[in-house]
């Protein structure tokens, strides 16, 4: 991908890719079996500055640009979507706190999140409100000068591990966001049970029962959680997922190209068979397209361009669909080796499906983009 990057960006990417591969390549399959990310992995992410990479330097973060952050997610996505998701959801919550939190939240919690001393989860989805977040039922009421939360959040990534939760709720008919510590006696988390993918991502149900918090735990202002805080967090998340799907595609291509060059069938290397040539060429071309879209999304974010929203949506849409298609093809090509858990492709195959659901399903992205495409076409006429 060097042809799309500056020399500094290429060096940053190479160094991260090698570091993450060397450190975690062997261990990643074990996380899926034990269905959790070990504490030493989380501590390593903090030590390496990955958890605060995208956060401003002024807050103690790495101050990485969107392209530098995206390249980190690409490197993580090659190894483990669960690992990449830890960094992603933490970043979504931390960015929200640092952009829209009070001065006290930014200086206090924000510094802990930037250093990775505390891990954050972001709680949007409910049993009857996923894509349509306006339907969330978790409520905030006022009692004796405090705020009281009641409701249940589901499929919360790293909800089983997080130290602090950014909860989206309704307050007097307006959307709001609040911070709740794990130690709060009104908050409980329960594993979601076995899932198709992201098996090491501690997916949890988060229950809030008469969960009392101080008024100053609110983030932003009532009425702006859904129109501003959620889209900003999701934009960070979609950008990350686009890049992690691109990394997943790279891992698939590497495995397939290596196998097709070595394996013989019917007296010839696999790569000399037309069906394998088709598979490899489609995979590599879609990977290249995913890189272009992801780089364009990152560049738009770095430029502060409002069109970044569409670019990020398109990158996420394409890269995740391509990952779903080609991880399946990679398992097919490697056949019996492809279904082995330790080979990594089986995990990518499962995780790629989940990437097409989280941070906006394929269908929600179409719903968001299509009307604008029609409007833009009308303006060109």
């Amino acid at each position: 991908m060097d042809h799309l990057l500056s020399a500094e960006e290429s060096a940053h990417h190479s160094s991260l890719t090698e570091l993450i591969r060397k450190t975690w390549h062997e261990e990643a399959a074990g996380w899926e079996r034990s269905q959790e990310l070990p504490e030493h992995v989380i501590a390593w992410c903090a030590e390496q500055g990955l958890l605060g990479a995208a956060l401003p330097r002024s807050a103690g973060g790495g101050g990485w640009s969107a392209i530098e952050t995206g390249l980190m997610y690409e490197a993580l996505g090659r190894i483990s979507a669960s690992l990449a998701s830890l960094v992603n959801v933490h970043g979504m919550a931390a960015q929200t706190v640092l952009k829209w939190g009070t001065e006290q939240q930014r200086a206090g919690l924000g510094a802990h999140l930037a250093a990775g001393r505390r891990i954050a989860a972001i709680c949007m989805t409910e049993q009857h409100a996923g894509s349509d977040l306006a339907a969330i039922k978790t409520s905030v009421t006022e009692r004796q000068g405090k705020l009281v939360l009641n409701g249940t959040k589901v499929f919360i990534t790293f909800g089983g591990r997080a130290d602090v939760f950014l909860i989206f709720a309704q307050h007097g008919g307006q959307s709001t966001a609040c911070l709740v510590d794990r130690e709060n006696p009104g908050l409980s988390t329960y594993p979601m049970g076995e899932t198709l993918g992201l098996r090491a991502a501690s997916l949890a149900r988060v229950e809030l029962r008469d969960c009392v918090i101080d008024r100053d735990a609110a983030v932003g202002r009532d009425g702006f959680a859904l129109p501003v805080l959620v889209p900003l967090a999701l934009e960070h998340g979609r950008h990350a997922v686009a890049w992690m799907a691109t990394g997943m595609l790279q891992a698939c291509l590497d495995a397939c190209a290596s196998y097709a060059g070595e394996r013989q069938a019917f007296g010839r290397a696999l790569v000399e068979h037309g069906q394998v040539q088709t598979l490899l060429t489609r995979m590599a071309t879609d990977l290249e397209a995913a890189r272009h879209l992801s780089v364009a999304a990152s560049r738009a974010l770095d430029a502060g361009d409002p069109a970044a929203t569409e670019r990020v949506l398109m990158a996420k849409y394409f890269a995740c669909r391509a990952a779903e298609e080609h991880t399946a093809q990679a398992v097919q090509l490697l056949a019996s080796r492809g279904v082995l858990e330790d080979g990594g492709l089986a995990r990518h195959y499962r995780d790629s499906k989940v990437l097409n659901i989280l941070e906006g399903t394929t269908q929600i992205i179409e719903r968001l983009l299509a009307p604008g495409l029609v409007h833009a076409a009308g303006r060109r006429r």
């Binding site: 202002r221 009425g223 859904l226 129109p227 501003v228 889209p231 502060g304 409002p306 604008g372």
Partner: protein, 88 residues
């Protein structure tokens, strides 16, 4: 109405036209209540204001009185620019 005010009105109207079908809004038309824009527009508008007018939005700026209409957006931008000039 001052010249900067008219220019900001027009910049906001031009930006809105990229995302919203329909006629040019009145300066006091509520953009959100009338359903002109989708769920992503508020974030795009804030990004546009920060970049185009070199202002930095703070948590206390999250108030519909600042963004609901073109006229309110213009008044908000002028206020933020005046604040920034005062602090410089």
């Amino acid at each position: 109405m001052s010249a900067p005010s008219v220019q900001i009105d027009q910049a906001v109207i031009d930006f809105l036209a990229q995302y919203s079908p329909g006629p040019v809004p009145n300066l006091d038309e509520d953009l959100f209540a009338t359903g002109r824009v989708n769920s992503l527009f508020a974030l795009q508008l804030l990004t546009f204001l920060e970049k185009n007018f070199q202002i930095a939005l703070a948590p206390e700026d999250l108030d519909l009185r600042n963004f609901a209409t073109v006229g309110k957006v213009t008044a908000f931008v002028l206020r933020k620019q005046a604040q920034a000039a005062g602090n410089a």
